[in-house]
């Protein structure tokens, strides 16, 4: 699903990692869940399927469908409704419950099946199980949460804005309510596809546990097994990427790993020093521009001299202040400003620097590669667009 959504140009022959049958199954699944957003195009005789959606125009993330598609048996769906109906306003032992359901449904269920389903619902928190004498009585968990119209509006918002938003969507579905109030911009809907891994990581973060996980790089195709302590989730609201920041117990330093490259997470031992490491990370956050903690040199400095028309281009100054991650901006003279920032790895900053193309008088810094690459990029772009002769 991720391939269809993110890349949007996969035809059967591009889908090189798996078999043709997998491609067909995946495509059929996407078409079923996302019929409104699936489009097709023919190129060189090959049909390419893709998902095209302006995320600001959709009330609910269509990729939540991936979480709403678990297969089930006839018993699962029947018992769901019969158990919740039977236990409305009363508690029952599993024997009584079995008799009630068999009689009402006209289907013969054995006690074991019903007990198993009840215990599953106790785990979900929907049922309670109390021992009275020698018997266990099942009942519906008393509803303490009052889902008011105000809370429903909050859920409509947070299902699109908060992490693991599909849970909000489950609540809205259950309440039979749709989001008719909010739209979301800069909204990366594919994040939901990593939320299973995210939830596992958040659980171990709460418990100060380390994990062992397999990291599969889409770029190189390599899979590596890593043992580390997860501490924080790094999110980019601009590039659409999410990472987990971990402390490597072997290398004794922080690393970030892409969430969408992690295939599974296995909890390991509790790390006593986790609170101190978390604090250490927090103290260093202002020096991490993006996700890199840099190499041998502790910090790097970038100085960017900019031409900004003070009278007509105040919005540029505002942009630097809101996007510049606490870097210092000083006025050097009429319409000339200097932005300075110290960080672990200035290469993380390169894309942001290039957003000021057309305003940069000079770029200097301690990492010569970053500076050189900027000037090379400008020259390459000039060549690419056939601009020149005035240097």
């Amino acid at each position: 699903m991720r391939d269809f959504y993110v890349y949007g140009f996969k035809s059967r022959i591009d889908f090189d990692r798996k078999s043709a049958r997998t491609y067909d199954n995946e495509k059929r699944r996407c078409e079923s869940y996302l019929k409104k957003y699936m489009k097709w195009d023919y190129k060189d005789g090959n049909k390419a399927s893709f998902i095209s959606v302006d995320s600001s125009k959709i009330p609910i993330n269509p990729l939540f469908a991936a979480w709403k598609s678990k297969s089930f048996t006839s018993n699962d769906i029947m018992l769901h409704f019969y158990i919740l109906d039977a236990l409305k306003n009363r508690k029952m032992t599993v024997d009584l419950l079995t008799d009630y359901i068999c009689e009402k449904s006209g289907v013969a269920f054995d006690t074991q099946t019903i007990r198993g389903k009840c215990n599953e619902y106790v785990d979900h928190g929907m049922l309670t199980c109390e021992k009275q004498g020698k018997a266990f009585f099942y009942g519906i968990t008393p509803e303490t949460v009052d889902i008011t119209p105000e809370l429903l509006d909050a859920i409509k918002f947070f299902q699109g804005a908060a992490p693991i938003g599909e849970v909000g969507s489950f609540i809205l579905d259950n309440e039979n309510v749709e989001n008719n109030l909010f739209a979301f911009k800069h909204h990366y809907i594919a994040h939901t596809l990593e939320d299973g891994i995210l939830l596992d990581l958040l659980t171990v973060i709460r418990k100060n546990q380390s994990v062992v996980f397999e990291n599969q790089s889409e770029r190189s195709g390599n899979t590596t097994t890593i043992h580390a302590l997860p501490l924080k989730i790094f999110v980019s609201a601009t590039t659409g990427r999410r990472y987990v920041c971990m402390y490597s117990l072997r290398k004794r330093r922080f690393f970030n790993y892409r969430l969408d490259y992690i295939k599974s997470v296995v909890p390991n031992e509790v790390i006593d020093s986790a609170p101190e490491l978390r604090e250490k990370l927090g103290n260093n956050l202002d020096k991490v521009w993006g996700v890199s903690f840099g190499g041998e040199h502790r910090t790097e400095i970038v100085c960017m001299k900019l031409h900004i028309d003070e009278k007509r281009e105040q919005y540029i100054i505002h942009r630097i202040l809101r996007e510049g991650q606490g870097g210092e901006l000083t006025c050097l003279g009429t319409n000339t400003f200097l932005y300075t920032k110290e960080m672990f790895d200035s290469s993380d900053m390169s894309p942001w620097i290039k957003t000021f193309t057309g305003r940069i008088l000079a770029l200097e810094g301690t990492n010569e590669l970053v500076i050189k690459r900027f000037y090379n990029d400008m020259n390459q772009m000039a060549e690419m667009y056939s601009i020149g002769g005035e240097q």
Binding site: V53, K68, E150, I164, I171, Y188, E218, S350, Q391
Partner: protein
């Protein structure tokens, strides 16, 4: 806590909806309509035979109508996962836009024994803008609530607004939806106003942070149907066409970064290059332009002409500035 469970699934939700509505009887066609409207594309194929044949024993047929075997509500209780998620929202500063202090205290008490799903500081949004809206400002909260109420009731508003270039205006707007940007950490009101010169409704976006006052308009009329149509209209401008090279992992970076736009990508085998067409809101043109420039030479703009000339103009200006400094 299990995130992937059939109890949250489309089929369970849909069957609950059918059972609730079938308490007074539903025809086969009415049930089919519900399934087509709320299910996946192939749901009818899998679900209807089991429902109608009695295999699931959830409905009984009488006089060509189907009746639920249950009475009253069919919705399930909240799960621990859902309660944990709700509890976590209480520590988000934006919750104040929806719930007042006493509602927050009441909800918090009702979730007393529930664990948090995560803490707010488990997340670090490293490129979030630093001038986000102030969610602790009582005036902002009051205006937000008034606007949300008007959006739901389709009521026009008189809004006093500080424009980005200075100057305050007061005008009648028809609110449509509230749009949130995670990057800007700002809410914007998507609305429409009547343009007398062109004699038509036009789409307008207002930053909630710049709205100074909100009053219900005396001229109350519901144009929600027109607003819906207006906001569903496609952008009439030409899409930006990009050529993406394979260097520096540009394809993946570019596809991810522009994933929130409506777009189409093709691979040209002969030239080993990708072409991507991005549809965009004309008000986002500058933002799109600088985001494309951030990729440097690994992404080339092919058109439209006006967009391309802006890119060229910026690069040309950059070369001049560089050479003047040398």
């Amino acid at each position: 806590m299990e995130l992937f469970s059939e109890i949250y699934g489309c089929y369970f939700t849909l069957v609950a909806k059918i059972l609730e509505q079938a308490q007074n009887g539903l025809s086969k066609i009415e049930i089919e309509k519900l399934v087509t409207g709320h299910g996946f594309y192939d749901t009818a194929f899998h679900l209807l035979p089991s429902l109608f044949s009695g295999e699931w024993s959830l409905l009984t047929e009488r006089d060509n109508k189907y009746f639920s075997k249950f009475t009253g509500e069919t919705k399930r209780p909240l799960t621990t996962l859902e309660k944990s998620w709700l509890k976590t929202l209480l520590s988000d500063p934006r919750i104040k836009l929806f719930l007042n202090d006493s509602q927050i205290v009441a909800l918090s008490a009702s979730l007393n024994n529930i664990q948090l799903l995560y803490e707010q500081n488990d997340f670090h949004i490293y490129d979030k803008h630093l001038d986000g809206d102030d969610y602790n400002d009582d005036g902002y909260i009051a205006r937000f609530k008034a606007i949300a109420g008007a959006c739901k009731a389709h009521q026009p508003l008189i809004i006093e607004y500080d424009g980005s270039k200075g100057g305050r205006t007061k005008r009648q707007y028809h609110p449509y939806k509230i749009c949130y940007s995670a990057r800007d950490d700002k809410f914007r009101l998507l609305c429409a106003a009547f343009n007398r010169r062109h004699n038509k409704l036009e789409r307008i976006t207002l930053n909630l942070g710049r709205i100074k006052s909100v009053l219900l308009s005396e001229n109350q009329f519901d144009i929600s149907v027109d607003l819906d149509a207006l906001y569903k209209e496609s952008f009439c401008n030409e899409p930006v066409v990009l050529e993406i090279s394979k260097e520096r992992n540009a394809l993946e970076r570019c596809m991810l970064q522009f994933a929130s736009f409506e777009r189409q990508t093709e691979y040209d085998k002969d030239r080993d290059i990708y072409t991507c067409r991005i549809n965009f809101d004309p008000t986002d043109e500058t933002e799109l332009l600088i985001r494309i420039l951030s990729f440097g030479p690994v992404v080339k703009v092919l058109g439209p002409e006006n967009f391309l000339s802006q890119v060229k103009e910026r690069i040309s200006r950059q070369l001049k500035l560089q050479s003047s400094e040398c």
